[in-house]
């Protein structure tokens, strides 16, 4: 199978054509021998994006999302690799569930799915999950995401045990003894009468994990950082040489807790949307290198789980299909970061942290790529999404950076070139 991508802009190169043969990037070949020539009309080609934090809900919650619908959403967002969090039912805490996920992902065939295994059996902070056996089955990291690792003692054991297998630990940072609210604690939560979840609930756990990582000299990755204090501590720790990495999500630099005023549950997630100073701190941390990755924390929910009282609604929003456009529109277009830096955040860094070996665009590398239209504004329409979830806060937003083509391993996984 031979494919030519024609009429494209390639980041960091003056090429206008790309050649793909048998799933790999190839040297130029005669157009007459190509099976397919795709004219992307001046679209910008980037290496296929990597999202190291998604929830695909299968097994167990297929009414919210399946691996197939999640994969389709990923492809539509320009992603060619995703890492799925283990809070499924049953929990992905043993090799059998890992194998099941990989099988379903291969059947869907739209994105590379790298499962993340649970750190503790059943996502609890008591007994270790079979991390070694899960790694042999194909996990790339461990996390109890959805639940924090509750105690310092268990976190220490998780870090130590995982280091035997050289497998990264990703942690959702929340001290449940002082969180427990439905939105950020502050003037908005007070004014609308919703119990708050303070920034310090996140900061305390970030501090704990930095301290443990430094003491044990074992890397730790901090999930979805949303606070000014968290970013400050991570920045300082990195400067000291602590092996800490972190991620944030598009909603933390585009939205604040003010959006919760109408009790719209599409603005409810964990960590919650914070205040303006936190939003600005997240942008600053993206700019100065404190943030390593931008992830979506794609968390599809059924309408029945969201069309309820704000405090009862489940946490989370979908993100795979809006992520790149939000990043491009709010970070690159205004000149806050360069496109090269965005590609680091959305491809090279997650690939490096999890040792996925993705992001190469040289001859012989797997042909994973995405093409975006950076020139024309479009309206983000929740009804066009391929995820089963409709829980997005970005419906109707005017954005730049629509995905026009996604190719994974030489195979077209999404196309919107009309």
């Amino acid at each position: 199978m031979k494919t030519i991508i024609r009429n494209c802009k390639v980041l960091g190169s003056d090429k206008t054509e790309l050649y793909i043969e048998d799933g790999k990037f190839a040297e130029a070949f005669d157009a007459a021998s190509a099976d397919e020539v795709i004219d992307v009309k001046g679209g910008t080609v980037l290496p296929g994006l990597v999202d190291m934090h998604v929830h695909f809900r299968e097994p167990g919650y297929e009414y919210k999302e399946t691996i197939a619908t999640g994969s389709a959403a990923a492809a539509r967002g320009g992603f060619t690799s995703v890492c799925t969090m283990p809070n499924t039912f049953p929990v992905c805490d043993n090799a059998a569930v890992v194998e099941g996920i990989l099988k379903r992902a291969a059947d869907a065939g739209l994105v590379r799915v790298y499962p993340i295994g649970a750190a503790g059996k059943n996502l609890e902070s008591n007994e270790l999950a079979e991390i070694g056996l899960m790694k042999e089955a194909g996990i790339v990291a461990i996390s109890n995401d959805g639940k924090p690792i509750a105690t310092s003692g268990f976190m220490r054991k998780v870090l130590e045990y995982s280091s035997d297998f050289d497998i990264p630990v990703l942690n959702h940072e929340e001290d449940l003894t002082i969180s427990g609210g439905a939105m950020n604690e502050g003037e908005v939560s007070t004014s609308i009468g919703i119990r708050g979840c303070p920034t310090v609930a996140e900061d305390i756990m970030i501090a704990r994990d930095i301290i443990l990582s430094e003491y044990l000299d074992i890397p730790v990755h901090i999930c979805h950082v949303s606070t000014k204090g968290g970013m400050r501590m991570i920045r300082e720790a990195k400067a000291r040489g602590v092996k800490v990495t972190c991620e944030t999500c598009p909603h933390y630099f585009t939205l604040t807790d003010v959006t919760c005023e109408n009790y719209d549950t599409n603005f409810k997630m964990h960590p919650p949307l914070r205040e303006e100073e936190d939003r600005l701190a997240v942008i600053e941390a993206i700019k100065d290198g404190t943030v390593d990755c931008i992830v979506t924390d794609h968390a599809p929910h059924h309408q029945d789980d969201k069309d309820v009282e704000f405090s009862h609604a489940l946490n989370g929003i979908v993100g795979l299909e809006s992520s790149f456009a939000l990043c491009y529109t709010y970070l690159v277009k205004p000149g806050i970061i360069t496109m090269e830096r965005l590609v680091e955040l959305m491809c090279h860094n997650p690939s490096k942290i999890l040792k996925l070996g993705r992001g190469g665009m040289n001859t012989g590398d797997d042909a994973d790529l995405a093409v975006f239209d950076l020139d024309n504004e479009f309206t983000f329409d929740k009804n066009k999404m391929l995820t089963k979830g409709r829980n997005t806060p970005f419906d109707g937003w005017k954005l730049y950076g629509k995905t026009v083509l996604t190719i994974m391993g030489g195979k077209k996984t999404y196309e919107e070139l009309c």
Binding site: E127, L128, I131, G132, F154, K157, E160, Y161
Partner: protein, 309 residues
């Protein structure tokens, strides 16, 4: 002749010369155990009391037989069913035993340092038969006797020890003793069971069980307590057996004439597959005889010191 100290508290307190003297004496004692008659006069007129605050089958029996083979009077006290159960303090119990004219108290206690805390307050010699996670010197000495029977010197020999390093008093005693004799000790186990700073004790921490055992002259497996799963130190027997056990393939990486030891009791199928426990290289069952011989040597040499004073 004899040990310098009144007590045998640990390998920390022994010099290389003392260790060699114990091992050489134990070789002689072994002939007594194997060839009989199992009645000597080395401890004639002496009394030995075993005071065990923790359950034990082999260590206790081994001390008891050792003292009886050498003609001593001996008695046993267990923590349960004695005044200890009524809340008597360790020191009071030890003083009571001491005042009855006891020459040697062999003591096992779940707290590290328990024998040290009474040793200088009583006249009897204290032999540490295991204190918490600290030391178990006679186990290390019997392991070393097993090695000494197979190599003529310890210098430069590589000894691999795999398993729950953190909780093991056997490892601590072996590491200290073997280092004094010039052997190189390599340890490996789940990082959750690897104590901080162990390399400062002169051992090398390996990266994998293979790395630990490769080119070893002797290999030692350690018991992993299954209750450790509950304290999140490892996830399951299946995973432990897959990544941390000394399998036949792992054992092949050791030197061709290497031999396998285990302080027992062994969890078959966890730290050692049964096939390995029973293999030709295994000296696990032979070690038990050495336990009696080494304890005879220790008891005798402690009393010999007294006689010299």
């Amino acid at each position: 002749m004899g040990l310098k100290s009144k007590d045998l508290l640990g390998m920390k307190q022994l010099s290389a010369e003392e260790i060699m003297e114990i091992l050489d004496t134990a070789k002689t004692m072994k002939m007594v155990v194997e060839n009989g008659p199992k009645k000597t006069s080395h401890l004639q007129g002496k009394s030995v009391v075993t005071l065990f605050y923790e359950n034990s089958t082999r260590t206790r029996l081994s001390f008891e037989l050792a003292s009886k083979y050498m003609g001593s009077t001996s008695a046993n006290i267990s923590a349960s069913g004695s005044s200890v159960a009524k809340g008597e303090s360790l020191l009071d119990t030890a003083r009571t035993i001491d005042m009855m004219g006891t020459d040697i108290i062999v003591m096992r206690h779940p707290q590290s340092g328990a024998p040290h805390s009474i040793a200088n307050k009583i006249n009897a010699s204290i032999v540490n038969a295991g204190d918490g996670m600290n030391e178990h010197p006679t186990q290390a000495l019997l392991d070393m006797l097993t090695m000494y029977e197979r190599f003529d010197k310890f210098e430069g020999k590589k000894i691999a020890i795999c398993g729950d390093i953190y909780h093991s008093r056997v490892v601590r005693s072996n590491a200290i003793g073997l280092a004094k004799l010039g052997a190189k000790v390599s340890v490996y186990g789940p990082r959750t069971m690897m104590p901080i700073g162990i390399e400062k004790m002169g051992v090398t921490v390996a990266d994998s069980v293979e790395d630990c055992v490769r080119d070893a002259d002797a290999v030692m497996g350690l018991r992993v307590q299954l209750e450790r799963m509950k304290s999140s130190l490892f996830p399951s027997v299946a995973e432990y057996a897959r990544f941390y056990a000394i399998t036949p393939e792992v054992l092949k990486l050791a030197k061709p004439d290497a031999f396998l030891m285990h302080p027992g009791p062994c969890n078959h199928g966890v730290e050692l597959p049964t096939a390995v426990y029973d293999c030709d290289q295994s000296v696990i069952n032979k070690q038990v005889t050495n336990g009696v011989a080494v304890r005879m040597a220790v008891l005798y040499l402690l009393m010999a010191r007294r006689n010299n004073l």
